[in-house]
Symmetry: C2
Subunit: 392 residues, 2 copies
Amino acid sequence: PVNIWFKIADTGCKAKKLGEDDPRRIIHACKVGLAITLVSLFFYFNTLYDGFGVAAMWAVLTVVVVFEFSVGATLGKGVNRSIATLLAGSLGVGAHHLAVLSGEKVEPFAIGTTVFLIAALMTFIRFFPKMKARYDYGLVIFILTFCLISVSGYRDDEVIAMAHKRLSAVFIGGATAVLICIVIFPAWAGDDLHKQLATNMEKLATFLQGFGDEFFQISESEITEDKKASLQAYKSVLNSKSTEETLANFAKWEPRHGRFRYRHPWDQYLKVGALVRQCAYSIEALNGHLSLENQIPYEIREKVQQHCTKMSTESSSALAQLALSIRTMTRSSVADSHILKAKVAATSLKSSLKTGLWPDTDLLQIIPAVTVASLLVDVVTCTANVGEAVNE
Amino acid sequence: PVNIWFKIADTGCKAKKLGEDDPRRIIHACKVGLAITLVSLFFYFNTLYDGFGVAAMWAVLTVVVVFEFSVGATLGKGVNRSIATLLAGSLGVGAHHLAVLSGEKVEPFAIGTTVFLIAALMTFIRFFPKMKARYDYGLVIFILTFCLISVSGYRDDEVIAMAHKRLSAVFIGGATAVLICIVIFPAWAGDDLHKQLATNMEKLATFLQGFGDEFFQISESEITEDKKASLQAYKSVLNSKSTEETLANFAKWEPRHGRFRYRHPWDQYLKVGALVRQCAYSIEALNGHLSLENQIPYEIREKVQQHCTKMSTESSSALAQLALSIRTMTRSSVADSHILKAKVAATSLKSSLKTGLWPDTDLLQIIPAVTVASLLVDVVTCTANVGEAVNE
């Protein structure tokens, strides 16, 4: 029993943390409750219930399955559901009439065959990548509505009245969900995508900022665990692709809001995101060298340290600036100058390696330094690419 | 009009390709059609329809939304839906009875409040990562069923009969979907995960196999476009995380099949997958150096080429062997010997760099070679890690 209480308390703590991390989650939960309570009014008031009858159920059903966290997802599902219900409803009524014409005996077979064909065809269409990304839900609802309308039609000849009621209920449910989602503290997928891109760039900047110190072990003081953790934050960027694509898909459904207009170039975000990930891959390779024991002899360290640190901090500043200019949606030339400085540092590193005579140094000992330098050059290149893409 | 015909033809081609790439897609589409046709029999036969009435609709609805491509996904959704309907149905009936006790005037308010609270609570629970991964669908259905049952109860006092019919219909629909999914050419998510892991490792092996030749430009003959494309196949591994996690989640629902038992250690696959991705990140860094123009002076090339090529091909063979031993589910020591050889090559490269006098060579010219060598060492380390994890 103590164990159970402990588990309950633990769950409570987790719930508190979830709510604190993103208070919009609590708001979202209340919004869903509100929307469902609103559509269930159809059942309480006689005037409303008389119009719809059992079909009012479809309004509740629609709200529950359509209401998602972000406006884009809700709108996407709502629009998909409404249009699919409309199309499939009309087609279902048509199929029913054709089946009735075919005579009483043939009717079940005619309906059965149509249902089989349409269901199989639509299921196959769901595999098209483009359909899957934007209209997957619509296709499911299309199959559902078509089958229900044409099959129920066999039992209930007032197919048109039924389809009409059901369609209205779906519209009302979808509209309620979308309205409440947009009106009360909306959570925009576009905002999230925008912020996530900037945050990802900042994570890389944090790593590069700390990298120089860490690698050359400049600061004698113990590096705290906290700082180590913040250096490793960039790891989440490596796997950011699917989240970004989902958010961009949702964002495309969203109307004008705040600083974003409808048809904001969301694909550009995916492009920048891909470049940022490219940068993160190089950083991942750098990170591998961080954990190796590096005993770089003093004379070599002296030669490369300055340039490497410079490259790393300048790339870091450039990324931080680019993140800032994404956040503020302004074009800034500060990042360009940082990139330029990083490039200059890369060039002077190269020439110092070229001109500097390396008398009797053990080549093996230089390897870590050279590798790191070379990877940093990659990072600088990536950063420059990100800079170009952001300014587009 | 020509344009339209062109588009239709284009879509046809795409559909053909989708079907050829994975014929299971066509089978899946037919299976869905069949399952829906089967449950719609409830409407055609009087004996069946008399028992269920309109509730037969829920069987069709369940089949449409539960039937997924893989057995794991279908089973997961089916189990979620059945259990959630059962729980929420009982709770809904209970809430209805309590509300009736509270008197006619208070009833709507009592129901409204309960619906709001339960809906908000369950929506919030969906944010828990663990619940989201496995029980998200169940929670949605819980909200849906609870609201429908308790709200409809206000209009129809035969709540228990209604809930019972609906629950039976959902069970029948879920069972039909699951049975047809498992019995006719089942597509197991576990198989897919298993194969994908092996394929990913083979992609890396292909890259490493070709890398030596490409980098040192050994073969004078033009490298064909086809070969270039196969070298770049590894890129898909970089972003494989979300697919692997989804498949593993589905696979956990699957019963014993073929060579996999229930509770096959799917998490181990995720672990190996993460290590394979780690390896892919190093390869990505290597690939960056492939595209750079590399003018390595002859004397340097001579020194490093042999060892680098050895490291690369041995790692490649090791990965290919590991992939094979995953495919055949056998433990093989061949991979270990390849890893050992790669490690030996790495050591001898290091010592050749150490002992070899590098008279008057321009350090700048060595950098690409040294960097590549160093990255190859990383790849060898990663490969060794993968080897260990696979053998576990």
